[in-house]
Amino acid sequence: KHSYTKYNNWPQIYSWITRIARKNPELVSRIKIGNTFENRPIYLLKIGKQRDAKKAIFVDCGIHAREWISPAFCQWFVKEAIRTYGKDSSMKNILDNMNFYIVPLVNIDGYVWSWTQDRFWRKNRSNASSNACVGVDLNRNFDVLWGTVDASKNPCEEVYCGSSPESEPETKAVTTFIHSHLSSIKAYLTIHSYSQMVLFPYGYTYDKVPNYNTLNGLAKGAAKAIASLYGKKYKYGASASTIYPSSGCSDDWAYEQGIKYSFTFELRDKGKYGFLLPESEIKETCQEIMLAVKFLANYILNQT
């Protein structure tokens, strides 16, 4: 009973991943990149015509469990990529010449918990610490100035960064895959909610990245593309100055690995619904973000 305009639980997403790869073998392949703390398989969908494309964009969704619109977007993106390939020359050009590596749901354990026990659960479900509190904020667990800026060493905090960098299997699954495909991955996109922003490094310092002007221009272009559809205004800029400083985040990590086009999307809305974005807004949200991703993909394809 999977639907692109409803929020899907993990069993629905799991069977969708299996089904969409099986039905579209010419464009989609399913790759297992690791297991969660509770031993659920983490899957990545490789989308693209080229078996050995020189360029790729990595996209992850669902690092934070309660941000349900994030995995909804990844599912939408895969569906639209397949549906419009052959109809839309822009999409065909993109998929003929580059791959997308899509992780539809990184924090599966947390997502399951948010469906069954606590709708506002954020972290994963790791209980490796000796403390009674459960969960690590996966977006504080990456190895770039880990645990230094506005991340907590207290397991009971929502921004607990874990016992060490990449201590969590979900983080490790993402970093290991990216490391092994570093030569082809030109851009990294991570999808979150809420607050309507397009962010880029750095988050751990107010210093500007060397290619600040390029990234700022791309973020501006992405925000413009988003606004062109339904008029939604997304702020854009470097993470530290636009949202707040934080360390151990995945976009900074990807940038430091050499992926110089690294962006975080904070999807709708600006707080009216928070993490309870109504299902009636899934379609519009995904449509507008789709434009931004295609805008970035075309840049990566043509200018890098």
Binding site: K1, S3, K6, Y7, R119, F120, R122, D137, D150, S152, E157, E158, V159, Y194, S195, I243, Y244, P245, S246, G271, K272, G274, F275, L276, P278, E279
Partner: protein
């Protein structure tokens, strides 16, 4: 989340920022929706946080005592969650 409320405040000065940062130590549990934690609150930032039903009166009193203007984004969070889950149930019948 029965009768749990989501508040929005916008600290106007450093004193109010410090108050908000300390609120989480006085009132528990508080779930910061934006920013991710009390650590990240700065002046003039819109701060959204979830307070359980048994603490909402205390929080409102504390905010008023400290002259912090607030609005309530969700009056009863469970009702809004139920609305979504009802949609889900209907759609999968």
């Amino acid at each position: 989340f029965d009768s749990a409320k989501v508040f929005r405040v916008k600290p106007q000065n450093e004193k109010q920022v410090n108050f908000m940062r300390n609120l989480a130590t006085v009132i528990q549990p508080i779930d910061f929706w934006y920013p991710d934690s009390a650590l990240q609150i700065v002046n003039q930032m819109e701060v959204d946080f979830l307070v359980s039903a048994d603490q909402t009166e205390n929080v409102e009193a504390l905010l008023k005592d400290n002259n912090i203007h607030y609005e309530i984004l969700f009056q009863n969070l469970q009702e809004d969650i139920d609305k979504q889950l009802d949609n889900k149930r209907n759609s999968t019948c």
